[in-house]
């Protein structure tokens, strides 16, 4: 099969462009990882301005997400809503971003006030945009304002020219738009690698779970590949601003665009790491061949793979249909699938030659970027153990600009509501939304893109739907609070956290909402039993979220940290930290910037930004203890079916932990005992974690703590004092 090529009259489309603004800037070399300036664009007024980056900004916020949060704070008021013109989308990169010698060094960190959570969201994304934008001259980009017409923002990083065009005729859906724009601007096939696009899709026009697609040109496939800034509805904000796309051109990539302080160290650390990947990956995670879905059967084995809206942790009878062997077969092998140069982990896998079965592109042969584990898990969560559904959903979510995680988790919630009788055929427009219904789920996704039908409601996410179902269909609010797997308004990513108290905290204390990139402690906690006490768990929930935050400050991907490990890692003092890799990162940072930081300084850099983000939420009326609530589905069995499916485990816990004899007790009585216990444990965990983090019992960073980490800034003290 040959990939479907949609033909366009690109000249005619381009002829409709009207130049709305143009800005020229001086091209200056990067100085040890920093440009020391950021760019601000108001798409409403079309004003384009440069801002200097102060020494204090670098000292306190480091870069990446730190810069993003600082700029977003300064640009918005506590009352700013996601769809207000003053809300911004900030793209930031970090000092290490763009080095070519180490794996996972091309990330962009994107922040905005989220339509789903009403607090700052941050999402990290691969593709070439981050490095190219940084090489083009800026450490961050702020997009503010709302345009009165559809626009494209074009950055010529070679010449130092920025243009805003009206763009009435281009596609909106990303897989077509990215190809259109690259075809339109690149003078030949050879030049296409120098272009990168950022776009959303028609789903982002209607949903609160819109995502952004960042392209990178795959020369072997001759295809614009797409990576997603998935979480929290950033695509929805992008489309609200009437931005169709950003396009960047940068042709001058070299081994040292960052003008680093010590290239020799970076080369040595990089080459050593690549060898480790060569020697160990096949026997460890096999990321290079199977990508993140290598996790499927592992998660199922440990009862962690969400099934039927997190009721169950997998399905032994069905897992064989979607396990790693299937993905190894379906993904095209033998292509270096890194989403930035130098990524030897190369986990951005692709299903080529996939013929779409539904929707507006039915019959088209496409290449599907993914699925990643989270997308496949989103599908099993709907009890759809079908690799072709996963590919189909993945493709359409991406091109429509819809986050696969939020879509899957929301649909799983909707399906449970359907089976519980809260919804029916009349409400859904005639679609049977029972668990396992793939075709109907796809129709809901297409409806999101069309902005019609019941699907249009699904796109608003679980928090919105809970309220709607109570108000319109008389649903029991408590039941919905128990089964709706969202925290802070963000849908939970795809791990069952019931048997890991630390992971319940990892998910639901997370600053932005339940996303695994802030903490993933299930194996340490539940499987390896390395953190049995509250103190241990609190220490883990201090260190790991800060360690993981650091990747976002630098423009780094977390996967190369622990998805391959040195052969002797298990023999080190703290294998969960992967000490040799921590040392790699410390060396990389120092070699880029010329500084000499310690491993503890890494944590300090993160701690400043982490606390800033928490206070940012508090400033907006959130961020306190009540907002760290965990739905009971994340802690334990909500329904009798759930309890009975793991009755042996739960009964045993009643005996061993609570000293209660389950015999003679009804399931409801046993569930109540377990629930009281687990909810109590979670509250104790909150106390322990807050104390460890230097926060009050209400999750507010204390003045003393802010002083101790050098973040006693007047604007932060004002917020915390009002809440302590």
């Amino acid at each position: 099969m040959i990939r479907t090529k949609v033909a366009y009259d690109l000249q005619a489309i381009k002829a409709k462009h009207e130049l709305l603004a143009e800005y020229k800037y001086d091209i200056k070399p990067i100085d040890r990882g920093y440009n020391n300036r950021t760019l601000h664009i108001d798409v409403g007024s079309r004003a384009i301005t440069e801002k200097p980056v102060s020494g204090e900004m670098k000292r306190l916020f480091t870069g990446g997400k730190g810069f993003g949060m600082r700029l977003l704070w300064d640009a918005t008021r506590p009352q700013t809503k996601w769809n207000d013109p003053e809300n911004e989308i900030v793209f930031a990169f970090g000092p290490i971003c763009g080095i070519t010698q180490y794996a996972g060094t091309g990330k962009t960190l994107v922040v905005t006030i989220s339509p789903a959570t009403d607090i700052p969201i941050d999402s990290n994304v691969g593709g070439y945009f981050g490095p190219y934008f940084k090489f083009a001259g800026f450490d961050a980009l702020e997009l503010q304002g709302i345009s009165d017409r559809e626009v494209i923002i074009y950055f010529d990083g070679d010449k130092g020219v920025i243009k805003i065009f009206s763009a009435p005729d281009e596609e909106i859906n990303s897989h077509l738009l990215a190809e259109q724009l690259i075809e339109m601007y690149a003078k030949d096939e050879q030049e296409k690698k120098s272009f990168c696009t950022v776009s959303a899709g028609e789903g982002s026009d209607h949903a609160y779970m819109g995502c952004l697609n960042f392209s990178f040109y795959d020369r072997r496939r001759q295809l614009a590949r797409l990576k997603q800034a998935g979480r929290g509805g950033i695509g929805s904000v992008f489309r609200k601003k009437k931005i169709k796309a950003m396009v960047i051109k940068y042709t001058g990539t070299t081994p040292n665009n960052n003008n680093v302080a010590d290239i020799e160290t970076i080369k040595a650390v990089g080459a050593k790491y690549h060898r480790e990947m060569y020697e160990n990956d096949d026997a460890q995670c096999d990321m290079r061949h199977t990508g993140t879905p290598h996790l499927m059967e592992i998660m199922c084995d440990y009862d962690l793979l969400p099934t039927k809206n997190f009721q169950f942790g997998g399905d032994a009878e069905q897992i064989g249909k979607v396990d790693s062997h299937i993905w190894r077969e379906m993904f095209t092998q033998g292509i270096p699938d890194g989403c930035w140069y130098g990524c030897s982990m190369a986990c951005a896998k692709v299903i080529d030659n996939y013929m779409l079965r539904t929707g507006p592109y039915k019959g088209h042969v496409v290449s599907v970027d993914g699925p990643e584990y989270e997308t496949a898990g989103a599908s099993t969560n709907m009890n759809i153990y079908d690799p072709h559904f996963m590919a189909e959903m993945n493709f359409y979510c991406d091109t429509y600009g819809v986050d696969t995680i939020s879509f899957g988790t929301t649909m799983a919630f909707v399906m449970e509501c359907y089976e519980a009788g809260i919804l029916n055929l009349e409400i859904t427009g005639g679609y049977d939304l029972s668990f396992g219904r793939g075709e109907e789920s796809m129709e809901m996704l297409h409806q999101i893109a069309r902005g019609e039908g019941f699907g249009n409601l699904v796109g608003k996410g679980i928090r919105w739907l809970k309220k709607y179902f109570v108000e319109h269909y008389g649903a029991d609010p408590q039941f919905l609070e128990d089964i709706g797997m969202e925290g802070k308004g963000l849908e939970c990513s795809q791990y069952v956290s019931k048997e890991s108290l630390a992971q319940q905290g990892g998910y639901f204390i997370a600053n932005k909402g339940p996303q695994h990139d802030e903490a993933w402690l299930i194996f340490m906690d539940m499987v390896n039993k390395q953190i049995p006490t509250f103190e241990d768990k609190a220490n883990a929930l201090y260190y790991f979220p800060l360690w993981r935050t650091w990747f976002g400050l630098q423009g780094l991907c977390k996967l190369p940290w622990n998805d391959v490990e040195p052969t002797n890692n298990a023999e080190t003092d703290e294998p969960a930290k992967v000490p040799e890799h921590v040392e790699n990162y410390r060396q990389l940072y120092n070699a880029v910037t010329g500084q000499n930081i310690s491993a503890d300084d890494i944590i300090s850099q993160s701690e400043r930004v982490f606390n800033f983000q928490r206070i940012f939420a508090i400033r907006r009326g959130y961020g306190t203890r009540e907002h760290d609530r965990c739905p009971y589905r994340g802690m334990g069995p909500v329904t009798e079916t759930e309890y009975l499916s793991r009755a042996e485990r739960y009964d045993k816990q009643l005996v061993e932990i609570l000293g209660v004899n389950p015999e003679g007790k009804s399931t409801a009585e046993k569930m109540k005992l377990l629930r009281d216990y687990r909810e109590g444990q979670y509250q104790k965990l909150l106390d322990a974690v807050y104390a460890r983090r230097g926060w009050s019992r209400n999750a507010v960073p204390t003045v003393e703590h802010l002083k101790s980490i050098g973040m006693d800034l007047p604007e932060l003290l004002e917020v915390v004092k009002a809440n302590l």
């Binding site: 040959i2 990939r3 070519t100 010698q101 690698k193 020369r219 072997r220 496939r221 001759q222 295809l223 990539t253 070299t254 081994p255 040292n256 290239i263 020799e264 080369k267 990089g270 080459a271 050593k272 790491y273 690549h274 060898r275 480790e276 990947m277 060569y278 095209t332 092998q333 033998g334 292509i335 270096p336 890194g338 140069y341 130098g342 990524c343 030897s344 190369a346 080529d352 030659n353 290449s367």
Partner: protein, 140 residues
């Protein structure tokens, strides 16, 4: 295709090959910049140089490594972005990188070292071109 063949049993570890190689390609006598490497001691030496197997071509993200008409795998320095994946993934560790050089280098079977070797441990000989292990095809 003609590749560099190494007869390690004849090697005396004199390093003449390294010297002439680095002098030819980097204008300095520096074993760290030689495309052939001698290691070992009097009980036995090994000689490390590219076998032209082509595995590095598969992992190069910018297609800077290609096989030329005579079958030799060559690095296009202009296209290379110095990611060093090829250095880490060379099965025989024959792709090198050296201080002062941002981009890697490898043996291209030029034969200079053959002439310099006093013990005939090196030769350029015809071998069968390996079957390319390229799994993908272009989707035009």
């Amino acid at each position: 295709m003609k590749v560099l063949i190494r007869r390690e049993d004849r090697c005396t570890g004199c390093g003449a090959c390294e010297k002439v190689c680095s002098l030819t390609w980097f204008k300095e006598e520096n074993p760290a910049k030689s495309r052939i490497r001698v290691s070992g001691n009097e009980s036995g030496y090994s000689l490390n140089a590219c076998t032209q197997c082509g595995d590095c071509m598969l992992i190069c993200p910018v297609e800077a490594l290609t096989r030329d008409k005579s079958g030799i795998v060559r690095l296009n320095l202009k296209a290379c972005v110095g990611c060093l994946n090829c250095v880490g993934f060379c099965p025989s560790l024959s792709m090198f990188v050296a201080p002062g050089e941002d981009k890697p280098f490898k043996c291209i079977a030029c034969g200079i070292c053959v002439k310099a070797c006093p013990t005939d441990a090196l030769s350029i000989e015809e071998v069968d071109e390996p079957v390319e292990r390229v799994f993908y095809r272009r989707h035009l």
